[in-house]
């Protein structure tokens, strides 16, 4: 016991070095990124829940109160919105970057928007923009109050993946049968809601219909249905299976390879490339595409995910994108998805930074690859083109 105590003291003395200052804000920001990625990767339902309230809304400039104009402006300025109707007020978020315009969320309510939500609001394209969403309006709903939040939550030029969480739906949307939910992640005290997710005109859409009562009246339900019927969604352009050129990332897919480039709301762009078709990826699957389908000595899957944080772990890349023998990462998870590859698989991970953007590159083989196998994958990786981050103006 005495020896044990001595060892403990010796180890403590050895480790007794000055520590840097904790940086809680940095930790919080990074945790948010991890949560969003995990949600997008494993529980699309979580994305559905969050999408209505977690759209990026930074970089806005307020120009004062606009309550009296809400609802009277042209509602078709965005990809998603509600036709104007008497008794309803409409507002929208305003993504901070033009390339993120698809991430716009729209809010309609049959009561006033809460003053706190209107702080810093301004008009753009004829629509009042809320800098912080409509969370306070939601909390302040009267018993007969209704708030509907609608947003597009996924962007890609490739075909939508066949996700059960997003069944094909036609407009007008209908309130689901049965009682509304009365408990969910986030603020739900005294409220109820119907979450509706679906693929509408080639876009994944999430709509949350909130009521100010846990047992909304039939009149309130009918009123909500009327407004829901005024929802419009801009049709997506026809998708292409080989158009990998979006978000400043491009790849000319070689013959025999499949790919998909997409972004979830509040997430970052993700490029999946595989020797197997990538349309089987489902919620709850590992992030690496086709892990369960890699079978032959030719099968490889690649995942390139942009990170919205730059830290020293992302080493500058001065040559074409590639993986090296040193990048083997036994026991690693892909984007913290909670899974590790089967023991006979070989996973490589290379975090890198280029042009002011940081990425995590993962490559998984279902066998132990040799130099020729790495060369074959590197030939594909070298075709990926990444545009530099836009410089701040």
């Amino acid at each position: 016991m005495r020896e044990d105590h001595q060892l403990r003291e010796q180890i403590r003395r050895s480790a007794d070095v000055p520590t840097p200052a904790p940086m809680l804000e940095t930790v919080g920001r990074r945790a948010r990124t991890i949560r969003v990625r995990r949600a997008a990767a494993t529980t699309l339902v979580a994305v559905v829940v969050a999408a209505g309230i977690a759209i990026p809304l930074s970089g806005l400039v307020g120009i004062g109160d606009a309550q009296s104009d809400i609802g009277s402006m042209g509602a078709r300025a965005g990809l998603i919105g509600f036709e104007p109707a008497e008794g309803w007020a409409m507002a929208a978020s305003d993504p901070s970057h033009p390339d993120d315009a698809w991430q716009q969320a729209v809010f309609v309510t049959n009561g006033p928007f809460a003053p706190a939500d209107l702080e810093g609001s301004y008009q753009k394209d004829g629509i009042v923009r809320l800098p912080s969403g409509a969370g306070q309006t939601q909390r302040a709903l009267s018993d007969e109050g209704i708030l509907i939040v609608a947003s597009i939550v996924y962007e890609s030029r490739n075909p939508l993946p066949p996700l059960e969480s997003f069944p094909a739906r036609d407009l007008p949307l209908r309130l689901p049968a049965g009682p509304p939910e009365t408990s969910w992640e986030g603020y739900s005290e005294g409220l109820s809601r119907y979450p509706i997710a679906g693929a509408v005109d080639g876009r994944f859409v999430v709509v949350n219909v909130y009521f100010g009562s846990r047992t909304p009246s039939e009149a309130a339900m009918a009123l909500a249905q009327e407004e829901l019927s005024r929802l419009f969604v801009g049709s997506a352009p026809p998708p292409s299976v080989d158009d990998i050129d979006h978000f400043g990332i491009a790849l000319d897919l070689p013959s025999g390879w499949h790919g998909r480039l997409y972004e979830w709301a509040s997430g970052s762009p993700i490029l999946e490339v595989s020797t197997k078709s990538v349309d089987k990826h489902q919620p709850g699957d590992p992030m690496i595409p086709n892990r369960g389908f890699l079978a032959s000595l030719n099968d490889v899957s690649i995942l390139l995910a942009e990170s919205d944080v730059l830290d020293p772990g992302y080493m500058p890349l001065s040559s074409p994108i590639s993986i090296r023998e040193d990048d083997r990462c036994e026991g690693c998870e892909v984007l913290d998805d909670g899974t590790t590859p089967p023991s006979h698989h070989a996973l490589f991970h290379r975090p890198f930074e280029t042009g002011g953007r940081s990425f995590d590159l993962y490559v998984e083989f279902c066998f132990d690859p040799g130099t020729a196998d790495l060369d074959r994958v590197n030939a594909v990786l070298s075709l990926i083109r990444i545009e530099p981050a836009p410089t701040a103006s």
Partner: protein, 168 residues
């Protein structure tokens, strides 16, 4: 700055973070030797803990989980960085400590984890086992083997280092 970044942190996490940050940092620094890498890995581990705080927050071994995560992150990243040499030559009264540090860094990763969790974080064997996802007997084995290796290393240094004989 900071006003444009929405950060909402559970109070329990905030308390744990401020209390445990120095210990986790020191544990990682002890094993990797690189201050910058230790800081990055510690921050990353706390971020991962915050991301799953609902499940982790109620566990008595949350700090241990953060520590092992930080160690794994550091190991992964250290393969991509050249660890800088010590900035100054060791002082005589630090020699024993440096021998111990070198001995710990030479242990297999699982023994390193067990040593750090049990001796530096003061986790009981049962909680160390929970963090390492193994049973208590395995932890005891790791600790026993680590102690034996460290004892051999320290004794060998004592006998081979002419300075130690000079002091005797």
């Amino acid at each position: 700055m900071g006003g444009d970044v929405w950060v909402k942190v559970d109070e329990g996490f905030r308390v744990m973070y401020e209390r445990e940050f120095p210990t986790v940092y020191r544990a990682v620094r002890l094993l990797c030797g690189d201050p910058a890498l230790a800081e990055d890995a510690t921050q990353e581990a706390f971020a991962r803990a915050l991301a799953k705080w609902r499940r982790l927050g109620s566990q008595p071994w949350a700090a241990g989980w953060v520590t092992t995560t930080a160690l794994n992150v550091a190991r992964r990243q250290s393969r991509r960085r050249a660890v800088p040499p010590p900035a100054t030559p060791p002082e005589p009264d630090r020699e024993a400590a440096l021998d111990l540090v070198a001995g710990i860094r030479g242990l297999p990763p699982r023994q390193q984890e067990a040593i750090v969790l049990h001796y530096l974080l003061d986790l009981p064997v049962t909680e160390t086992a929970a963090v390492m996802e193994c049973d208590a007997g395995t932890v005891k084995t790791h600790l026993s083997r680590a102690r034996a290796t460290l004892a051999r290393a320290l004794n060998a240094d004592d006998q081979s280092d002419p300075r130690s004989r000079d002091h005797a």
